[in-house]
C-alpha cells in the first residue's frame, strides 16, 4: 500500500508527526509501521495533549511503591509487607457504539492491568454517565438501551470472573447524550516482593504469548478512542473488542501462578490498547532493550491476516510475558494446567529495536524507546468559555422561591441521579470473595481483606495481621465542572475524601479518569487545565497523591462536548473494623447533627436542574482547608466511637441527605424530626442547596454532647437539627412543616430507576 497524504491523515498522523517518524526511522515508514506509530502516538497511548498538564499532579509520597505512569497501575504500601494496586480507565467510545461489549471489555482491560502487576484483583468499581433515561423520546430510549447494555456488560464480565463490583456512581445529564462515559476501576492486593514489571531484560530471554488468539476485532481501538464520535461511528463497530471473561479468569489464575513461582518471569505486560504493538515496544523501552518477534508464530483466529492487522488488533485476554531462558518448560506446564497455550514468539535483543518479522522477512523495525516515549507533546491553547462567565452571573433571586417545598423532596429522591442505584448493583455480584463489609448504597464501599486466603500467595506469620480493611469511592459532579472546572475539580477530590471519612477511613491515594471533549478546542482545553489544577490542589490538601489513571478526550456527541468529568477514585484505609461507619440512622432517640456551615448555594444544584430546568450559577465553593479540618474531625469522633451514622451532603443537599439517612437500609428504616427554621435564608437553599463540607451525623445523646463540645473546641460549626425516631420524616422550616412517610420515601428512592427501566 502506498503511503499517500490521505493514508497518513486517515491514521490521525499530522504532517509534522510524519516528518518526526521519518526522522526516527531515517526513511519512509511502511504501512505496518505507520499503523504502529498511529496507535502508539494516539492520545490514548501517548498522552501527547495531556502530558504537560498531568505533571501538575502530586505524585510522590513515601508510601508509593509504583508511581503514576511507570507501569500498568500504581501501587501503594498498606503496611506489613502488603500493598494495593489500583487504577481506573475509560471505555467510553466502544460503549457508545456497542454498550455490552464495550463495557465488558472495559472491565476486562482494567482487571488485566491489575493482575499484570502480580496483584490479585479484589474488587471492581464503575463510574457511569448517560443522557436522561426518562420519557418517551427516541433519545431517552437510546439512553436506556445504552444504560442497560453497559450495566449488563459489566455484570457479565465481573460476575463470571468472580471479582465483586462493589460500588460506583451513575449520573444522568443531557451532555452525555450519545456519548456515555464508562469508567471502570479495579483494585488488587499484592505483597511488596510480588510486584512484577512490564519490562524486557536479558538478551535471548524468550518472549511468550499467552491467551486468546489474535483476530480482527478491536482493530486500532486506541486510535478510534482518540477521535470524536460521529454519525458514522457505528461503522467503527469492528474497532470494539469482544470479551471472554472465562478466558480472562484462566489467564488471571495461570499468570499469577507463573508469577508467584520464583524466577520464571522477567517481565509481563497485558495486551490492551494497541495490543501486541504496545506490549512489545513498551517492555523493550522499559527494559532498555529491544525485542524481535515472528508474526508467523502468533496464534491467530483467522487466516490471511496482514502484519498491520496482527500488530494493531485489540483482541482481548492476551498477555505478553518475558520468561527467564531455560525455564520455558515450567512456564508452559503451568499454562497447560489451565488449558492455555503459551507460545514463544520471539526473544529479547540488545539493539533497542522492536523488530517484527514474518518468517525471515522484516515487516517493521522501529527503535522501541523512541516509539514508546518520544511521541510529540503538544501545548494546547486555552480560552475561558463565555458560558462560564455568563453562568457565573446567575443570581438565586432570579428563581422564584416555591411557596410550598413539600413536593420537591420526593421529586429529587426519584431523580435518577439521586435515586438508589440498586437496579444496577443488584445485577453485579458484589459479594463474591467474602470481603464486602459495606455493600453498595452507603457513602463508600468497605472491603475486608482476608490475608489468610491461600490465593494471595503468602501465609501471615505469627503476630502479623490476618485482615486489613479498606474503603473506596469514586466521585465527580460534571455539572460543577462545566460551570467552574477549577472548583469542580477541587470538589471531586474533596467529596471522595469526605465519603471515605464518613465510612471511617483515612484517605490515602487517588486514581483519576479525565473525561473531556476535543482538546483542540481551546474552551475544552481550558476546562481540562482548570480541572487538573483543581484536582491537583485537592490532592495536595488531603495528602492523597495521584497514582495513575487515564485521559479520555474527544467525548463529543454530534451536538456538543460532554460536561468535563474528571472522575476521582480514592482509596482509604480503615485502621480498625470497629471504625466502619454507614450512612443510615441506626435507631430511635439518636440526636441528629449537621457538621459544617448550612450555606445557601444553589448554583449547579440538582434542585435547579430538576425543579427549575436550569444548569447554571456558580457551583458551590470548595474551601479545602475547611474540608481537611472537617475530615480530620469526623475521623477523630468516629475513632472515639461517638458516631452512629455519618452521611455526606451532596446532590440534593441537606433534605436528600436526611431522607437517605432514613431510608437507605431497608431492614432498619428510622424516621426523624428535624428543625431547620433557625436558618434565616431561603428555605429551598437551606433544604436543597449543595454547599460543600457538610456531614449529617447521628449519635446517642451523650455522644452528641461530646461531639458538640469537641467541635466547639476546634472551631467547627455544628448544629443540632433534631432526633431520630418514628415512621415519618418531619422537617420544620421557616415556612411550615414538611412531613413524609418514610416507607413512601423509601419506595420512591429505591424503585425510581427500576420503574423507568422495567416499564
Amino acid at each position: 500500500m502506498n503511503i499517500t497524504p490521505e493514508v497518513i491523515a486517515k491514521h490521525g498522523i499530522t504532517p509534522d508527526e510524519y516528518e518526526r517518524i521519518k526522522q526516527i526511522l531515517g526513511r519512509e515508514p511502511n504501512i505496518t509501521e505507520l499503523g504502529i506509530f498511529s496507535v502508539m502516538w494516539s492520545e490514548h497511548c501517548s498522552y501527547k495533549n495531556s502530558k504537560p498538564e498531568l505533571k501538575k499532579f502530586p505524585r510522590e509520597a513515601d508510601f508509593i511503591l509504583v508511581k503514576a505512569g511507570e507501569e500498568n497501575a500504581g501501587i501503594v504500601d498498606v503496611g506489613d509487607g502488603w500493598a494495593i494496586a489500583f487504577k481506573i480507565e475509560s471505555h467510553n467510545h466502544p460503549s457508545a457504539v456497542e454498550p455490552f461489549q464495550g463495557a465488558a471489555t472495559g472491565m476486562g482491560g482494567i482487571i488485566r492491568d491489575i493482575f499484570t502487576m502480580g496483584s490479585r484483583p479484589l474488587m471492581g468499581f464503575d463510574s457511569l454517565r448517560f443522557g436522561p433515561i426518562e420519557g418517551d423520546s427516541a433519545q431517552a430510549a437510546t439512553n436506556r438501551r445504552l444504560f442497560a447494555g453497559v450495566v449488563a456488560g459489566i455484570a457479565h464480565y465481573g460476575n463470571c470472573i468472580g471479582i465483586p463490583t462493589v460500588g460506583g456512581e451513575v449520573y444522568f445529564d443531557e451532555s452525555y447524550n450519545g456519548n456515555p462515559l464508562v469508567n471502570a476501576l479495579c483494585l488488587g492486593i499484592i505483597r511488596h516482593d510480588q510486584i512484577k514489571r512490564g519490562c524486557a531484560k536479558g538478551v535471548g530471554n524468550p518472549v511468550i504469548y499467552v491467551g486468546s488468539a489474535t483476530g480482527k476485532d478491536g482493530l486500532a481501538g486506541a486510535a478510534f478512542a482518540s477521535r470524536e464520535l460521529t454519525e458514522e461511528s457505528h461503522e467503527d463497530r469492528p474497532a470494539v473488542q469482544v470479551g471472554d471473561p472465562f478466558m480472562e479468569k484462566l489467564l488471571l489464575e495461570a499468570c499469577l501462578e507463573v508469577m508467584r513461582k520464583n524466577g520464571l518471569v522477567v517481565g509481563i505486560q497485558d495486551m490492551g490498547a494497541a495490543g501486541l504493538t504496545c506490549s512489545t515496544c513498551e517492555t523493550a523501552s522499559r527494559g532498555g532493550s529491544g525485542n524481535e518477534i515472528d508474526l508467523n508464530l502468533v496464534p491467530k483466529r483467522e487466516t490471511g491476516m496482514t502484519p498491520y492487522e496482527i500488530m494493531l488488533s485489540e483482541s482481548q485476554e492476551r498477555m505478553l510475558l518475558i520468561a527467564n531462558k531455560g525455564r520455558e518448560k515450567e512456564v508452559e506446564e503451568i499454562f497447560r494446567k489451565w488449558d492455555l497455550h503459551g507460545v514463544t514468539i520471539g526473544k529479547v535483543t540488545n539493539d533497542g529495536m522492536m523488530r517484527i518479522k514474518v518468517g525471515k522477512e522484516i515487516a517493521a523495525e522501529i527503535p522501541a524507546a523512541k516509539l514508546a516515549d518520544d511521541a510529540p507533546v503538544y501545548h494546547r491553547s486555552v480560552e475561558q468559555p463565555e458560558w462560564e462567565i455568563r453562568n457565573s452571573k446567575f443570581e438565586t433571586r432570579s428563581v422564584r422561591e416555591p411557596r410550598n417545598c413539600q413536593t420537591i423532596l420526593p421529586k429529587l429522591l426519584a431523580s435518577p441521579t439521586i435515586a438508589s442505584k440498586n437496579w444496577v448493583y443488584r445485577q453485579y455480584d458484589h459479594m463474591v470473595q467474602d470481603g464486602t463489609a459495606v455493600v453498595p448504597g452507603s457513602d463508600a464501599a468497605v472491603i475486608r481483606i482476608n490475608l489468610k486466603r491461600p490465593d494471595f500467595g503468602y501465609t501471615p506469620k505469627k503476630g502479623e495481621p490476618t485482615e486489613k480493611y479498606i474503603a473506596f469511592t469514586t466521585d465527580c459532579n460534571g455539572a460543577y465542572c462545566y460551570l467552574d472546572p477549577y472548583e469542580g475539580g477541587k470538589t471531586a477530590v474533596a467529596e471522595a475524601a469526605r465519603n471515605l471519612v464518613c465510612s471511617g477511613a483515612r484517605p490515602l491515594a487517588v486514581t483519576d479518569c479525565l473525561n473531556f471533549g476535543n482538546p483542540m478546542d481551546p474552551h475544552i482545553f481550558w476546562q481540562f487545565r482548570r480541572c487538573v489544577d483543581g484536582l491537583s490542589e485537592g490532592c495536595r490538601a488531603f495528602g492523597t497523591p495521584v497514582t495513575g489513571g487515564n485521559v479520555s478526550f474527544y467525548n463529543e456527541s454530534p451536538v456538543a462536548a460532554i460536561d468535563p468529568t474528571p472522575t476521582v477514585g480514592m482509596l482509604g484505609l480503615i485502621d480498625d473494623p470497629k471504625h466502619i461507619t454507614t450512612q443510615w440512622f441506626k435507631e430511635s432517640g439518636h440526636v441528629i447533627l449537621l457538621l459544617g456551615d448550612i450555606g445557601d448555594e444553589l448554583g449547579g444544584s440538582e434542585y435547579l436542574k430538576r425543579i427549575h430546568g436550569l444548569k447554571t450559577g456558580k457551583p458551590p465553593r470548595m474551601d479545602l482547608a475547611v474540608a481537611k479540618r472537617t475530615h480530620d474531625f469526623v475521623l477523630e469522633i468516629i475513632k472515639k466511637r461517638w458516631v452512629a451514622s455519618a452521611h455526606d451532603c451532596s446532590e440534593g443537599g441537606l433534605a436528600v441527605a436526611l431522607a437517605e439517612s432514613c431510608v437507605s437500609n431497608g431492614d432498619c428504616m428510622v424516621g426523624a424530626r428535624v428543625n431547620v427554621s433557625q436558618f434565616k435564608q431561603r428555605v429551598d437553599a437551606t433544604l436543597f442547596g449543595e454547599s460543600q463540607n457538610r456531614i449529617v451525623i447521628s449519635a446517642t445523646k451523650t455522644n452528641a454532647d461530646k461531639i458538640m463540645k469537641a467541635a466547639a473546641k476546634t472551631g467547627l460549626p455544628v448544629t443540632k437539627l433534631g432526633a431520630t425516631g418514628g415512621r415519618t420524616l418531619k422537617i420544620n422550616t421557616a415556612k411550615g412543616e414538611l412531613s413524609y412517610e418514610v416507607a413512601k420515601l423509601r419506595d420512591l428512592w429505591w424503585n425510581a430507576i427500576t420503574r423507568i427501566m422495567e416499564r
Binding site: C160, F246, K249, W338, D339, Y425, M431, V432, D434
Partner: protein, 222 residues
C-alpha cells in the same frame, strides 16, 4: 470432618468456601482439581459456585463430564455427603445427582442480594442444626437460579420432605419457591444461596453457619 472443594476452571467461590470451612470452622479442607479422578480422604464434598468452564452451552453442562465429577458421583453413591452451592447446585442437577434444572431468572437478569430462606425440614444432614421454620438471611448471586421440575417431580420432592429450604419472597421465579433440595438418600444437597457468604458477622449475616454446623453435627451422629 474432612472437606474437599472441587475446583473447575471458572470456579470463583472455591476460595470463599475454603475460608469458611478451614478458617471459620477450622476443618481440614483440601481442593480437588477438576482433572483429578480421586477425591482423596474426604467426608463431605463441596461443589462451589462460579462459572465452571465459562458456563458456556448451559450452566453446569460441561462440568458434569469432568473426571472429578465422576468421583463425586461415586462418593454420593457410597453415601458420602455432597453439597452444591449456586453453580454447584446447577452442576449436581446436570449430573442427575439431583432432579430438575435451574433456568434463567424470571427477570432475565442476574440478581445479587440478601434473601430470606425458610428451613422447611431439619431431617437432613444439611439442616439438622437449624430449627424448622427458621428464617435464614443468606445472599444469592445468580442469573440462572429459577428452579424447575415437572409437577410430578415437585410432588415427589414434597412428599419425601426433600425441599430443605424455600425462599420467603421468591426472587427468581423458582417453582414452589424452592431454594434447595436433597436427593432420595438425603446425602446430596443443592442450594442456590451462598451460606459461605453469610458465615461471619463482618459480612452482614452469620445465618449461613447453620448449614455448615448441620454438616458437622451429622458427622458426629453418623
Amino acid at each position: 470432618m474432612k472437606f474437599a472443594i472441587i475446583q473447575f476452571p471458572g470456579s470463583n467461590c472455591d476460595q470463599d468456601c475454603y475460608h469458611a470451612l478451614a478458617n471459620v470452622f477450622g476443618q481440614p479442607t483440601h481442593y480437588v482439581w477438576h482433572k483429578e479422578t480421586s477425591l482423596g480422604d474426604v467426608d463431605c464434598v463441596v461443589v462451589p459456585g462460579g462459572f465452571s468452564y465459562g458456563d458456556y452451552l448451559r450452566t453446569g453442562a460441561i462440568a458434569r463430564f469432568s473426571p472429578a465429577m465422576k468421583a463425586v458421583a461415586d462418593h454420593a453413591k457410597a453415601g458420602g455427603l455432597v453439597i452444591g452451592i449456586c453453580n454447584g447446585f446447577q452442576i449436581l442437577c446436570e449430573a442427575h445427582l439431583l432432579p430438575g434444572a435451574l433456568i434463567r431468572n424470571r427477570s432475565l437478569k442476574f440478581i445479587c442480594e440478601h434473601v430470606e430462606l425458610r428451613v422447611e425440614t431439619t431431617d437432613s444432614p444439611f439442616t439438622n442444626a437449624c430449627k424448622k421454620g427458621q428464617v435464614l438471611r443468606i445472599p444469592i448471586a445468580h442469573g440462572e437460579g429459577c428452579y424447575f421440575a415437572e409437577p410430578e417431580v415437585i410432588e415427589q420432592l414434597k412428599r419425601e420432605d426433600r425441599v430443605l429450604v424455600r425462599y420467603v419472597n421468591n426472587p427468581n421465579g423458582s417453582v414452589d419457591n424452592i431454594a434447595g433440595i436433597c436427593n432420595e438418600g438425603r446425602n446430596v444437597f443443592g442450594m442456590m444461596p451462598h451460606p459461605e457468604r453469610a458465615s461471619e458477622k463482618i459480612l452482614g449475616s452469620e445465618d449461613g453457619k447453620c448449614i455448615f454446623k448441620s454438616i458437622l453435627r451429622s458427622a458426629v451422629t453418623v
